[in-house]
Amino acid sequence: MTGKARGRWLVVAIPYLWLLALFLIPFLIVFKISLSQDAIAQPPYTPVFDLAAGWEAFKQSLGELSIDNYGYVLSWDNEFIEAYGSSLWIAGISTVLLLLVGYPIAYAMARAPKSIRPTLLMLVILPFWTSFLIRVYAWIGILSPEGLLNQLLIALGILSPDAPLQILATDTAVYIGIVYSYLPFMILPLYSALEKMDETLLEAAADLGCPPLSAFWKITWPLSLPGVFAGCLLCFIPAVGEFVIPDLLGGSDTLMIGKVLWTEFSVNRSWTVSSAVAVLLLLVLVVPIVFYQNVQQRELEGR
């Protein structure tokens, strides 16, 4: 192998090694734990592979693995399936809300004078400079019965002081939290798709007899679809597994799989069941991820 070929091989190998060490191996460990049984031990499951114990012991340990935890998680008697469904539902609704809020913002940004676009872009990214956790905490201060929102509405005389809005600890608060936190992830891909669009296309449409609103649906919207898909998936995928927002803003009846996973792991101390929940969550999300990659691929080929 020449030096040049070795160099090329190294450049290609580094990202794969990275993925192997930080994604595939941890995933295999989680997957193995999901096939184990809970035990009062350190670590709290059996079997534990001990390579020093020899080949026979390893084969015996392998025989002790089972898919019982998956049966437990997928049984209708437990609330896991409901939690998966509820998570998908909440993430889905949030994604639609994000699109409804994000599209007009991205559109306005893309049509703003060129000189102020970098500033607008900066403003969209600005919230990232504060910790995510602190920003979600701040919403408690806004949404609580004695919070800023209620104080304002009462001061304006819209609400009576003895009947404040009960938003905190409801699904509504979770939607607000998700829409607020994920908005940049929706706006940025939409903006990049809309900004690329050649405005003379709209002039051409008008020239051919197409009024502006109709031109939006026939030209702008279809050409922004790659951005719509990218934005929706960038929001939907992490929103399904969201833990912090439902935990801080949601009520006790807000059922989301991230919360369930956390309870299973740190309250019930069941590493094995929480691992099974995590592996199944990954499977649920693989579908949209593969879809997303397909869309990206198509967009690349369209060039």
Binding site: E203, D207, G209, L223
Partner: protein, 391 residues
């Protein structure tokens, strides 16, 4: 000027165009009228109090450097810009205030502006569907257009799968599909290479005759304007400088600006010596020992400073002084020679230091006494070759 001066166009369409000159007919009603139109962008005046009439079936060119307002003028006709003052009428109807999607004109964009997510077929059908034309009629018209631009087998392709020339044809078909009263062409051939551009210019002319439509083309390429247009409007700083047939613009420019912008030209400063009906005598500043007689009616008086425009191809370069002493003549030395194959370009330095450019066709392969560097030569031209410019 008499009809029949548009030599270049005769070749393809002959007699019909030879007789076509509605602008000389006082009873003809213009199709498009710009009346005292002014357009400002902030402090910048793009179009200043401009009036222009364009007639039905005319192929009209707006010619000028970038920033002269020609595109703005066209965009006002399409409806993308509204004038600040003045009226624009099309077939007697006031267009000001009508949005672009209700105007009976279509435009072919410089960038083509093809819809990238639609096939060639859908691009061409877009305007027809917009009008609510029924399916069968849309299909028939699209097929007709595809045939017209010879793109039948590409109907299902997307724009990015086509070559530049093919995209140009799709854009043309799309803008023609609705049979607009006026087709606007914004630098339509700018993105094509030279050979394809020249071919397409003749195709455009044939197409315009065949369809009997009015074409308005915006271009900065004077050759293109001369080739395709019945009349050319030369623009500068938001104003019309000269509006006339290509041959008139070329042979009788009304100003230094037009003479300089259209074609190659030598401009010599001169002083008027005497003015008679049909003849002006001037003394060139660069060669005060000579007098030029130029056959032309001229508003200048004796003593006025004027400019003489001399086209290089109208100058003769010879090693011997001209036998006919009545022709205008300058003497000088060859400074530079450019051999182009069909022509040779000679740069002749006059005694005063200024230079004139003369083009000489290479009529034979061998010349007995070729003109060479530093040769003393005589540059002569007949009285009807030059033009006296007073502005």
């Amino acid at each position: 000027m008499s009809a029949g001066v548009a030599e270049k166009t005769q070749k393809t369409i002959g007699g019909i165009r030879r007789k076509f000159a509605p602008w000389n007919d006082p009873s003809a009603v213009p199709l498009i009228r710009f009346q005292n139109v002014t357009k400002r962008f902030g402090d910048f005046i793009a179009i200043e109090n401009l009036s222009l009439d364009i007639y039905e079936r005319e192929f009209f060119a707006l010619l000028g450097p970038s920033g002269c307002g020609k595109t703005t003028l066209m965009r006002m006709l399409a409806g993308f810009e509204e004038p600040n003052e003045g009226r624009i009428t099309l077939a007697g109807e006031d267009l000001v205030g009508t949005p672009p999607y209700r105007r009976p004109v279509n435009m072919m964009f410089q960038s083509y502006a093809l819809f990238p997510h639609m096939s060639v077929w859908d691009n061409i059908a877009f305007g027809l569907r917009q009008d609510g034309m029924e399916k069968g009629a849309v299909a028939a018209r699209v097929e007709e257009m595809l045939k017209l631009v010879k793109l039948g087998q590409f109907a299902k392709r997307k724009p990015h799968q086509l070559s530049g020339g093919q995209r140009q044809r799709v854009a043309l078909a799309r803008s023609l599909a609705k049979r607009p009263k006026v087709l606007l062409l914004d630098e339509p051939l700018g993105a094509l290479d030279k050979k394809l551009r020249e071919e397409t210019q003749f195709e455009l002319m044939d197409l315009q005759m065949e369809l009997g439509m009015t074409f308005l083309i915006v271009t900065h390429d004077q050759e293109e304007a001369m080739t395709v247009a019945d009349r050319i409007a030369v623009m500068n700083h938001g104003k019309l400088v000269q509006v006339d047939q290509p041959a008139v613009i070329y042979e009788h420019p009304n100003s230094r600006y037009v003479a300089d912008f259209v074609g190659d030209v030598n401009i010599l400063d001169a002083t008027v010596v005497s003015v008679e009906p049909g003849l002006v005598t001037v003394r060139p500043v660069a060669a005060p020992d000579r007098l030029f007689r130029i056959a032309q009616e001229c508003p200048a008086k004796a003593g006025d400073s004027v400019a003489i425009a001399l086209r290089p191809e109208k100058l003769r370069v010879e090693l011997d002084p001209p036998a006919d002493t009545s022709v205008n003549c300058l003497s000088g030395e060859i400074w530079d020679i450019g051999y182009l194959g069909d022509l040779s370009i000679y740069h002749v330095e006059l005694p005063g230091g200024s230079r004139v450019k003369a083009a000489k066709p290479n009529l034979t392969r061998m010349v007995e006494r070729p003109i060479s560097w530093e040769d003393k030569v005589y540059v002569s031209f007949s009285p009807d070759a030059g033009v006296v410019l007073t502005s």
